[in-house]
Structures are given as structure tokens and as C-alpha cells.
Symmetry: C2
Subunit: 210 residues, 2 copies
DNA sequence: GCAGGACCTTATCGATCGATCAGACTTCTG
DNA sequence: CAGAAGTCTGATCGATCGATAAGGTCCTGC
């Protein structure tokens, strides 16, 4: 594998940079247009490389998609674990509010995550099984565990955690997933810090009481 | 136009039925796989016709997509106006709860609506302008008007209506949009009446207070 | 009863898709 | 310095895409 040899020997710095440029371009186009709608030629054009180079760094379009999605969920995991690490000694309710805010901030910065989930998980397809078992289920388990603990302590109403999960993962990112539509309909800029903070305020107010 | 002539003269009953079968198949496949991912041959196969027949009844794939989306939003409009008509004399908060429940019930029965919005409205594309101005904006105006009235009367916290809109249109349908994923993750069947009712209970509790 | 329109099919077009191959260029190694 | 390995490109493959042309069948109206 050229990839592993390059990574271990690091003979040229350009290969890894090129790989990262391809992954970033692929993530944007896959999340925007879907797996079928994103052509490898357009991904290559955005990454400023030629199209056959994608098949040099990745064995197939499917492999490129998986690598891009892996990077995306790795960023989510890193953001949430970093945030959790800074919450030692904080009471559980405050910690939960801050974790929800972190999830919303990440969803605003990387709406590609939710775009890809909604593209692949609505119908059983060749990529749904991989995506759910590898990435979505850990996210589901973490969020529902948090909500179950909060419900037991009386901080949330007695709603089954599955419903809470889909309320949160719907209410939190939709404004950012539909960014261009939101800008056009409401005039708000969903990439601005003020709007992101206001949305986090709103979701937390509904979740944890008025 | 063959379409109008058929409808006015009604020479053969099969033409309109075929048209409806094509529209239903197109709606399912467009919402599942996106505009690019849904091939006209697969739509034709699901409608049990040959592929060139789509270009006989519709001038292009784009025209077929627009016709299918028109029918989808017409069904939403019909459901909501019918529900509103049955609410004379009901106080505003109860009416709002019932309208939200109707919106959730429709989203559960026809998740294609939200799937198509999220496919087309995340990036400016050839179909987003048409979809937003023709269908999404009226929905946005109706929902935000309802929320603004509720906020003025103190039934909702003072949150800008745009945020309320994206919280509702995210929290309400996501469980049904991601139906196969939900079934796999939680074991719940998002097409069953019990789960739909439970989700409506949860969203209303989330929105209108614990 | 036949002329014409409505409805549908088979065959096929050019364009674009993902993927592959041979070779060129660069950099490291012996 | 010569060869090997890593990185990238131009050319091109077969498959599939949306769309069209041409023809056939059946019903309707004169």
C-alpha cells in the first residue's frame, strides 16, 4: 500500500497533504450532493488534482467516502471528549448543558456530519450498515446514556431516550444543515457565532426547562 | 400537451393512472436517493412502465421532479388546512398543540417531504430556488406566524421565530426521516401509531413545557 | 370504416460516470 | 551515478445516464 509506506517513511511531504486536500474536497461534495451526485472528477477539481489520482490514494470511490466519513466522526469524537475532559467537578446538569452546547457548536461548524447521516440512513443501502454500526451507534449510545441519567435524576421529563435522541439530533443541527435555506428565509447567518449561540440557548431552554 | 388533453377528454382511463404511478415511484426514489441518485430507468421500473414513457408524460427528469414535489406539498397543505378547519372555537394553545401533532403525523406518513428539503436546500443548486420560493417559504411563514402569536401570548419563551422553526422542523420529523436507522438503533418502529403518538407527546412536552 | 390522435414500446443516441493502464517526473537509496 | 520506489498525469475503457426517434396499437369521431 502506497499509503502506509508513505506514512511510515515520509519520503515526500506532498503525498499526505494531497491526501488531506482530497479528503476535504470529498467530504464537502459528498455531503452537499450525496454519494451518487458527487462525481470523482469534481472532487478532483476542487482538490486541484487530476481524477485518476483519487484511485491512486484510495482504492475506489466507496473507499474515499469511508475515509472522509471516518475523519468527520473522528473530529466529533475529539471535540466531545475534549469537552468532557474539561468538566471534572461540574454538577451533572451543568455538564449536560455544556455538552449539548458543544454538540450544537460542532454541528454548526461541521454540518456535513448530519447531511451524510440523512443521506445514507433513510433507506437500507450499501453504506448504511457500515455508517450505523461504525459511527452512528456509538453516538446514539453516548447521547441516550446521558439523557437516561438526566431523566433518572429528574432533570428531564420521563420521555424514552430514543425520542429524546431524535429530538436533539433534529433540533440541534437542522438550522445549520439547511444553512443556505435559513439565510434566505430568515436573513440570519447560521455561520455567525451570535446565531449559533442563540440557537444553543433556544435548544437548551426547551430541553432543560423554560 | 398530452397531459391536459388527456385530463379534459379522458379518452383512456389508463393515462392518468399511469401518470400517478410514475409520480408515486418518482417521489419515493427521489426522496430516497436524491435527484442525481434516482435514475429514470429505476423510477420507470418501480412504476412498471418503460423508461421513455417518463419523457412522454413529463418533458424532462427535472419536470418530473417538480411535479412529484408539487403533489407532496399539496398533500401537506391539504392536511394542515383540513386540521385548521376543525379547530373553530378551540383556544389558541390547544389549537397550536393539535396543529403541531398534525404536522408530526404528516411527517411520519410522508417523510419524503423533509428528505427532499434537506437534499436540495443545503447548497444553492438548480432546484433550491424553485423549492424554497414555491413551497418552503409558505411553510416557513405559516409556522413562524403561529409561533409568533404563541410567543406574544406568553405560551412560548421569547425566542426568535426562525430558531423555533428550525427546532420544530428538526425535532418533529427526524425520527421518521431516518426510519430505518431508528428501527435499527432503538428497536422502535417509527411507522407504528404508538411510536408516532409517543413522539408527538414528546415534542409537545418539549415545546410547550414539561 | 377509416383517418387521426393518444398512449406506449423498442432501439439507440451522445454525454458522463468510475476505473484502469502505461508512462513521465521526482525523490530517495545503494 | 544508477536503479528503485513513490507520486502524478493523459488516454481510454465499458457501463450507465437522460433524452430522442421511429413505429405500433388501440380508441374516438366523422
Amino acid at each position: 500500500m502506497a499509503r502506509t509506506v508513505t506514512r511510515t517513511r515520509r519520503t515526500r511531504p506532498s503525498a499526505d497533504q494531497t491526501r488531506e486536500r482530497i479528503l476535504a474536497a470529498a467530504l464537502d461534495l459528498f455531503s452537499d450532493r450525496g454519494f451518487d451526485g458527487a462525481s470523482t472528477r469534481e472532487i478532483a477539481q476542487r482538490a486541484e488534482v487530476t481524477q485518476p489520482l483519487l484511485n491512486y490514494h484510495f482504492s475506489s470511490k466507496d473507499d474515499l467516502w469511508r475515509a472522509a466519513v471516518d475523519g468527520l466522526f473522528a473530529a466529533l469524537t475529539r471535540a466531545m471528549t475534549d469537552r468532557t475532559a474539561g468538566l471534572r467537578g461540574v454538577d451533572e446538569l451543568t455538564a449536560a448543558r455544556l455538552l449539548v452546547r458543544e454538540f450544537i457548536a460542532f454541528s454548526a461548524e461541521m454540518p456535513q456530519l448530519h447531511r451524510i447521516i440523512t443521506q445514507e440512513c433513510k433507506v437500507d443501502g450499501p453504506r448504511m450498515d457500515w455508517l450505523v454500526e461504525r459511527h452512528v451507534r456509538p453516538m446514539y449510545d453516548g447521547i441516550t446514556a446521558l439523557f437516561s441519567a438526566l431523566t433518572e435524576q429528574g432533570h428531564l421529563p420521563a420521555i424514552p431516550p430514543a425520542h429524546l435522541y431524535y429530538i436533539l439530533t433534529g433540533a440541534a443541527p437542522t438550522m445549520f444543515v439547511l444553512g443556505p435555506e435559513c439565510r434566505r428565509l430568515s436573513g440570519l447567518d447560521p455561520t455567525s457565532d451570535e446565531v449559533v449561540d442563540a440557537h444553543a440557548d433556544a435548544v437548551c431552554m426547551f430541553l432543560f426547562g423554560h
